[in-house]
């Protein structure tokens, strides 16, 4: 499968003041790539467009030549930067996890999610613990591409390596395409294989 960004332009106001324009790239489902660029240049916005949360002003996001589905489980899943905002504060973790159907036991174990956490509310878990749930629910069988937007920035090094080890293994085994955003070069060296042509002119300068 190929995830393709075709001539994507985006501006938040709808007219003028474009955040970025004419972005073109292709990612295959056995690749692991990263999006470069300093803060505030639209990396998260690009992620949201790729995962179908935002519609680009111009251009298209294509999955195997077809636009992303509007209804049902989206094969391109995004894991957000702030796990505490990505879970409903009034639901128990069990219910949050079942949002996208049942999650395999293997994934729950691999991410180190404990049985005891299931009956708690999100306020009663730490950011790292919440982020594991967010990753787990995005790893259903139908997932073909995973977009990881700064998913480990707020975690300590041990938790980071734990989560990334699992994620890398899973992604390689199931041939899920991985798109990573991070400011940590050491992490990117470990995780990603190539850089996407985004913000190339800024990068060159």
């Amino acid at each position: 499968m190929i995830l393709e960004a075709k001539d994507i332009s985006f501006s938040y106001s709808g007219k003028g003041g474009e955040l970025f324009s004419n972005i073109n790239f292709k990612v295959e489902n056995n690749e692991r790539v990263w999006i470069p660029g300093p803060s505030g240049y639209g990396k998260t916005t690009l992620c949201k467009i790729l995962a179908g949360y935002l519609k680009p002003c111009k251009g298209q996001v294509l999955l195997d030549g077809k636009p992303l589905p509007n209804k049902g489980y989206c094969p391109v899943q995004m894991i957000w930067q702030h796990p505490e905002k990505a879970v409903n504060p009034r639901l128990k973790m069990e219910k949050i996890l079942s949002d996208g159907g049942t999650v395999e036991e293997r994934i729950i174990e691999g991410l180190g999610i404990e049985e005891d956490w299931m009956n708690r509310y999100p306020q009663e878990l730490s950011g790292g613990e919440l982020q594991r749930f967010c990753i787990a629910r995005a790893l259903r069988k139908e997932t073909r591409f995973l977009i990881a937007d700064e998913i480990s920035t707020m975690l300590d090094l041990i938790t980071q390596s734990q989560i990334w080890n699992f994620l890398l293994e899973e992604v390689k085994r199931r041939e899920i395409g991985l798109i990573v955003v991070s400011h940590s070069n050491t992490l990117l060296e470990q995780v990603a294989e190539r850089k996407l042509p985004f913000m190339a002119e800024i990068d060159a300068a």
Partner: protein, 306 residues
């Protein structure tokens, strides 16, 4: 020597920090104890209010006939054991009259507040989901109704509806929905934009599933608490427009009527005619208010951590 001194400083610093930590922990534990108590307190308060209000309503209905009996052999009696609230100038038992009046008020309150809250729910959700034109239209109506003083609008509507029970209920229902509607509109708008709702949609939840699973737990407490907190308003406004003569008709034992009639006898020293019904009205309203606040504390899981 220098080393030793530094070392000592370090130790002392650590000691200080330990002390601070300990104090912090003690404070935390202390806070936890109070918190638990508050939650339990809320529960007890809620149960007490519910029991008191149900008993009042049931007794009021039972005493309805007794409240109408006039007996000139016992008129103008001061409060005593057999007539705890005394009797009035027609020899009517004020205890029965007060309870019956209160139960009428509570029932009117439930009806009016219920209609009002349902109106608020529907209009609030419409404003938030039906697009910009509907939103600005409904917001305009909310602002307009809120801009007119409640009692004035109530009297107007009640009078136009021909006073009586119908006038009061319609009046209260039409004037009290605004703040709850605004609250629900804001909540739905905010929820729609929240990340977890967007994520749920991408995880394959349908619109209906999102509304039921993700939005309902947020809206339900707001709605129920809003509904309960509408009661005291409804009851007070019912009493006040009845007192002013635009509400229920005079033969009915309503609190507003009891109070307005007792005004004439107050200067003659019949203090019990106004004091006991007034106190009971205040008690009912306060209990509704406290019960609603307690309910909010119980329904909001986040409040456990406050």
């Amino acid at each position: 020597m220098e080393n030793v001194r530094n070392h000592r400083k370090e130790i002392r610093g650590q000691g200080l920090e330990c002390g601070k930590n300990l104090q912090c922990r003690q404070n935390l534990e202390f806070g936890l104890r109070i918190r638990l108590n508050q939650r339990q307190k809320a529960r007890i308060l809620l149960i007490f209010s519910v029991i008191f209000l149900t008993v009042t309503v049931i007794l009021g209905i039972c005493f309805h006939d007794a409240a109408m009996v006039t007996d000139f052999s016992r008129k103008n009696l001061a409060p005593c054991l057999s007539y705890p609230f005394g009797t009035d100038w027609l020899g009517r038992n004020m205890f029965c009259r007060t309870l019956t009046g209160l139960s009428t008020s509570i029932l009117i309150g439930i009806l009016a507040a219920g209609f009002s809250a349902i109106m608020a729910l529907i209009l609030g959700i419409c404003a938030a989901t039906l697009g910009k034109t509907a939103d600005s239209g409904i917001t305009f109506v909310i602002d307009m109704v809120m801009g007119i003083p409640h009692v004035l609008l109530l009297i107007l509507i009640s009078y136009a509806m021909g006073k009586g029970l119908k006038g009061v209920i319609v009046g209260v229902a039409l004037t009290h929905w605004t703040s709850l509607a605004r609250l629900i509109r804001g909540e739905v708008l905010q929820l729609r934009e929240s990340e977890y709702i967007q994520i749920a949609a991408k995880l394959g939840c349908s619109k209906w599933q999102i509304a039921r699973k993700h939005m309902l737990p947020h809206l339900f407490p707001q709605f129920v608490v809003g509904l309960v907190l509408l009661f005291p308003h409804a009851i007070l406004h019912e009493s006040s427009i009845t007192f002013l003569g635009f509400g229920l008709s005079t033969e009915q034992p309503a609190i507003g009527i009891i109070l307005s009639e007792s005004m004439r006898y107050l200067i003659m020293g019949k203090w019990w005619l106004a004091v006991f019904p007034g106190l009971m009205l205040v008690l009912t309203v306060v209990l509704f208010e406290k019960g609603g606040t307690a309910l909010r504390q119980i329904l909001d899981p986040g409040s456990v951590h406050k």
